[in-house]
Symmetry: C2
Subunit: 405 residues, 2 copies
């Protein structure tokens, strides 16, 4: 985990964005007794944009936070790990609502200004008493430097906290974009399963904030995959509190903000795959020459989610037949005899058949590393897409067969 | 493997159907040097019906056998394991064609009467010399009792040969239906990946044969899943040689034939799941109360293919939250609060929330066995469907990470 080491080596202030504070406590929700309750707080009312899971089974905090972001304004996010508060019925929704009220009361703000997020086991009741007891300390603990602890507190099977930041300048004012996220299973395109909280002190109007978030998510979080499952609790929240004091975002400044936001989300998304449950390799599936944008995406998605392809990655086996078979069932326009495939820069398939043992040997060497690309040219058009995925390992099975028991 | 023992305990003649002979040899195609080339031969020209993979990447033998079954008549099937002859271009098709010619020459029949099937590694050239050298012995070895050896010769990662038979009576004549199949990875609904060869001595007209096959496949092979991948080589062939001497099939006799055929296919499909790569448990996913037939199928398919659900099966963990999350992303009409779920007869979810720890404890006991059902009532309508699946295990990962290397 080079990122973790890099981040740990940085100075603390790098985790702060003006006007935002954060904190975390161990409330006793996680069985491991680690940090499990996080709070992010904006001193001023912030503009907010958020995207939520498209799963039809939505956790109580998702239902509540959708409601609380509808007016485009918010001041706080309270998030717990260890319990998803999903499939918990009316009692679960009451718990989420009560959590927002408690935090609002302690902060002296409105309950509608508090968003709630949860991650962990589905279907178990979330103990309100644990949260009630923890909230006062949680609020007391708020500090400029609390973001790293908050990033730790939202982890479940993650092995390292995920933090990324971007530093920009707009209309003569410096600003930051700071994001934290958690994975690590149930990840697939279409709003990867995760929690992500991003703060900026830039002033960004609500419409622009929403547009920027949606477009950035589409090329980042919606392009990663760990196991093809999506979750009941996915949530990505972007808050902009305007503490930088800039005027309305325009032209180049707007472009820079969007590209900075995309970089932060790309960073976090990459860390999620790298920390995918049991993953030992990160693989970039690149599709070229697709007939349509949806063909390009479906091709990438199907290859990225194939259990047979992912176990071959694990075995560092350039078993391109499995890639061909996955393409063949992706429901796309294709001609077997037109397909070219590369592992990094080593071509292993030309015109639908194998290039030969020497190229496979070279490809296997590339695959022995922990990061490589599979590039597929379908030669059916000019559309491209990509999905970042990981391998399917013994450890994935261990983690998920033993997660609750 | 109780099936294998049971079959081995049976008298040899049970594997025979009048007018059909079979044989198998070790041609040296499989690295293990075991039996890898099988032949099934009908003394008379038989009516034939077949279904093939819907994967757009089709192996050479699939292309050839589709051509050779178009007239509804055939006399022989030659099948190799160890090499799929897929993604092998024009050379591969020439090899498949040459194989049919060689076998036809040796048997004194027409090349168009010979079907070819292959299973194994994709993308490696199939060595024609190995086949040329083996065909004379293969034909010499034909016998009434050869079906068991043929069933062994088509195995790849299968751990036991798959044979099923049905004995019926039509218009005063006894007849048999005898089928063999191989799995064991790349299995999913929509023509499970496999080879299946079914023989009957009943006289069945070509149209009825095709209708019977398609309807039986839909409720059997199209309702099993091992890993959600489909193959380039799927093929299920049904030959009827009329040796029983019956007149045209009608009324009750036709019904009995169809139900006998379905039983044989159901049997073989069940064995394929039981022998799914690394599988330790067979799980029957039953959907009730779906809004539409396609909703019922999609719900069953999505739950049956979820890696998170399948690892929970492996851990005997009644982690119903993962089942709810899978239903939520299945794209079906559903209301979380209307879902009921049972493990065998133990209800674990009522109205979208957990029944409690005591029921989960009982459910975990059921899941400790090697066969159980998950029944899901969506309460959205009257449609039902089911898919038979297996668990996702360490062994699955081992088999597929190390298959070629």
């Amino acid at each position: 985990m080079p990122e973790e080491e890099k981040l740990r080596g940085m100075e603390e202030p790098i985790y702060a964005v003006p006007g935002f504070k954060a904190s975390a406590v161990a409330a006793g929700i996680k069985k491991t007794r680690g940090l499990d309750l996080a709070l992010i707080y904006s001193e001023k009312v912030a503009n907010v944009a958020a995207v939520f899971t498209k799963n039809k089974v939505k956790a109580a905090p998702v239902v509540l936070s959708r409601e609380h972001t509808r007016d485009g304004r918010a001041r706080a996010i309270v998030a717990n790990s260890g319990n998803a508060n999903a499939c918990t019925g009316k009692a679960g929704l009451a718990t989420a609502r009560k959590t927002a009220e408690l935090v609002a009361g302690e902060l002296g703000i409105l309950p509608e200004e508090v968003l709630v997020a949860s991650t962990g086991v589905i279907g178990a009741p979330l103990d309100m008493d644990l949260i009630s007891r923890a909230v006062p300390d949680l609020v007391k603990g708020l500090s400029w430097e609390g973001v790293h602890r908050a990033a730790e507190a939202i982890m479940t099977t993650d092995t390292f906290p995920k933090i990324s930041r971007f530093q920009g300048r707009a209309g003569g004012k410096d600003y930051g974009i700071l994001g934290i996220a958690k994975g690590a299973g149930m990840i697939m395109p279409d709003m990867a399963t995760m929690l992500g909280f991003v703060m900026t002190d830039l002033r960004v109007e609500a419409d622009e904030l929403r547009d920027a978030l949606i477009s950035s998510v589409d090329s980042t979080f919606n392009r990663i995959s760990v196991d093809g499952d999506t979750s009941t609790n996915d949530m990505l929240v972007l808050m902009a509190n305007g503490a930088a004091g800039n005027r309305e975002l325009r032209g180049e400044d707007r472009k820079e903000f969007r590209s900075g936001l995309t970089r932060v989300l790309q960073d976090l998304a990459g860390m999620i795959v790298r920390d995918g449950e049991g993953a030992t390799k990160v693989v970039n599936i690149e599709i070229r020459g697709a007939h349509s944008p949806s063909d390009a995406f479906e091709a990438a998605r199907t290859v990225a989610n194939s259990s047979l392809v992912k176990t071959a990655f694990y075995g560092a086996d350039p078993n391109w037949g499995r890639i061909m078979a996955a393409l063949g069932r992706a429901g796309i326009t294709m001609a077997e005899e037109s397909v070219d495939i590369w592992i990094d820069e080593v071509q292993i398939v030309a015109g639908g058949t194998g290039v030969g043992p020497e190229s496979e040997r070279k490809a296997a060497e590339k695959m022995a590393g922990d990061l490589f690309s599979v590039t597929i040219d379908l030669h059916q058009g000019a559309c491209r897409d990509r999905v970042i995925t990981c391998d399917l390992t013994h450890e994935y099975v261990s983690i998920n067969a033993e997660y609750r028991t």
